[in-house]
Amino acid sequence: MNWDSFIIYAVLSAICWILGVWMAFQNKRKGAISSCILGSLVFFVFIIGLWISLDRPPLRTMGETRLWYSFFLSVIGVVLYSKLKYKWMLGFGTLMSLVFVFINLLKPEIHTKTLMPALQSPWFVPHVIVYMFSYAMMGAVTLFSCYLWFRKLPEEASDYELSICDNLVRIGWAFLTLGMVMGALWAKEAWGDYWTWDPKETWAFATWLSYLLYLHVRPTNKHQDFLFAWLIFSFILLQMCWWGINFLPSAQGSSIHIY
């Protein structure tokens, strides 16, 4: 299996996901959940197939990380829908997944089977997967906060809705921490330094601090405009860390993380 067959799997997954969302809005919960899970499974089969055919984990290029992002977002969407019964959460999660699938169709960033020596480490897979899961989690909370902020309702978001935000951020932040620590342990094995303030690391630290600040502000701050704006700001930092630094003038030529 290679990138040539991606279109087949992408279309199959997209059909399942869209059907799932449609069923959710028809209030057919079980059908919606099973259809979405089926879509994610089909997508996962492609990832595993790619892994086997490349003979290395498909985590090397931006395009390959986007595959995992789409996959995790679709899974998070269906888990949140089955848990919290918000239809549009499934809808937005699916939409964002599809956007990333579409980017990959246009720009798959195919890379050979090779991995450079520094990437030959048991930390490579968990480090990147944990980060991708965390990014997807933060993507979900950003969509959620946008929805709560801009929906046309006279009342503000309820305490319950805000606690959903907090939980998503907490889990996402836990994974950001895991990814960062795994990266530090890996860097020590590879180069002898835990942390070198490489631009990617600096922005990862900023993102981590920003979400941590949200978690510390929340118990005393109920000012919703501020909270939602802060979540969106944090997500911008996250995007900066993920791909923004590839275009940032101050990071040019000084990062080992450009890929």
Binding site: T114, V181, K188, E189, G192, W203, S210, S254
Partner: protein, 297 residues
């Protein structure tokens, strides 16, 4: 707010008067001695925090928010300003073009560490089962910052050029100073592992290995290292860093990085604690909203 303005002022003054920070004074045993004294002062302040209100204001929620925001602001500047060590302009004058060794950044990092340290002590003394993850996170983050800051002078990184068959004991630091290693290295064999190539003329390196003979006094041992697989000799670790790329597979030169890090075990322990804390935090999952209903938080 006033306090942070003061810290900023002190940072600027030091930056202007002294220039960038040179952590070499924190070399063993002084780094450890200062760290122990710092811990003593921290515990002393914490014990007195019931009488001294200002100490409590160093680690309550507003303090944590202020400290996190100021550190975030500096980190953003760190990310946005090119780190080229230039001394030109306002940013160069403030030390923001070499943030890692600038006074302002390190003073705020120190203040951040102090706040977490006091909070960690507070967590330990007011131990509650449901707050265990927060405690683990605060304690281990504090240990990491403590070891990173007070151990920074102890860290020594030496580049060694080893040629097959020739014993070497001298390496160069990044500043170009010669360092005599406490052991003698002899490269027995250097090898490059390649990917099987499909196209002719292209060679893709998978891994490279060095077989080294390490002689320390009377003791002699043979170690194999490759990228991601260093060898440990006491508090030193030997990393495979490079080779003579012009000769490629035929290279008889292996470039090694020898790193001395006496705080390795301490930081590793703390990092694994954070990993455990992170996993725990995830497994706890959705417990927060229940606490909210009970009105505990």
């Amino acid at each position: 707010m006033k306090r942070y303005a003061c810290l900023l002022g002190v940072g600027m003054a030091f930056q202007f008067l002294i220039g960038e920070i040179d952590p070499s004074f924190l070399v063993y045993p002084w780094g450890l001695v200062i760290a122990i004294n710092y811990l003593y002062v921290l515990i002393f302040l914490f014990v007195r925090s019931d009488q001294w209100k200002w100490v409590k204001c160093e680690y309550d929620r507003p303090a944590s928010i202020a400290s996190l925001s100021s550190l975030l602001l500096l980190t953003l500047l760190f990310g946005l300003i090119r780190q080229d060590n230039s001394t030109d302009g306002l940013m160069g004058w403030l030390g923001f073009t070499h943030m890692q060794t600038s006074w302002i950044f390190n003073i705020f990092l120190f203040q951040f560490m102090t706040m977490i340290g006091l909070k960690a002590l507070d967590d330990i003394c007011h131990w509650k089962k449901r707050r265990i993850t927060k405690m683990v996170m605060h304690v281990s983050l504090f240990i990491i910052l403590l070891a990173a800051i007070f151990g920074s002078g102890d860290k020594l990184r030496v580049r060694v050029m080893a040629t097959e068959g020739h014993p070497v004991q001298i390496g160069l630091t990044h500043q170009g100073e010669q360092v005599v290693l406490p052991f003698i290295l002899t490269l027995k064999d250097f090898s490059v592992e390649e990917y099987p190539t499909e196209e002719k003329g292209t060679m893709v390196i998978k891994q490279f290995h060095s077989e080294l003979e390490v002689k320390q006094g009377e003791k002699m041992e043979v170690v194999n290292i490759s990228v991601n697989h260093p060898a440990q000799i006491g508090s030193w670790r030997i990393y495979q860093s490079g080779y003579d790329t012009a000769r490629g597979k035929m290279s008889t030169l292996s470039i090694l990085e020898c790193v001395r890090d006496g705080w390795y075990e301490v930081i590793h322990l703390a990092l694994w604690l954070i990993l455990a804390g992170g996993v725990w935090m995830f497994l706890q999952g959705w417990s927060y909203s229940k606490q909210k209903k009970e009105g505990k938080e």
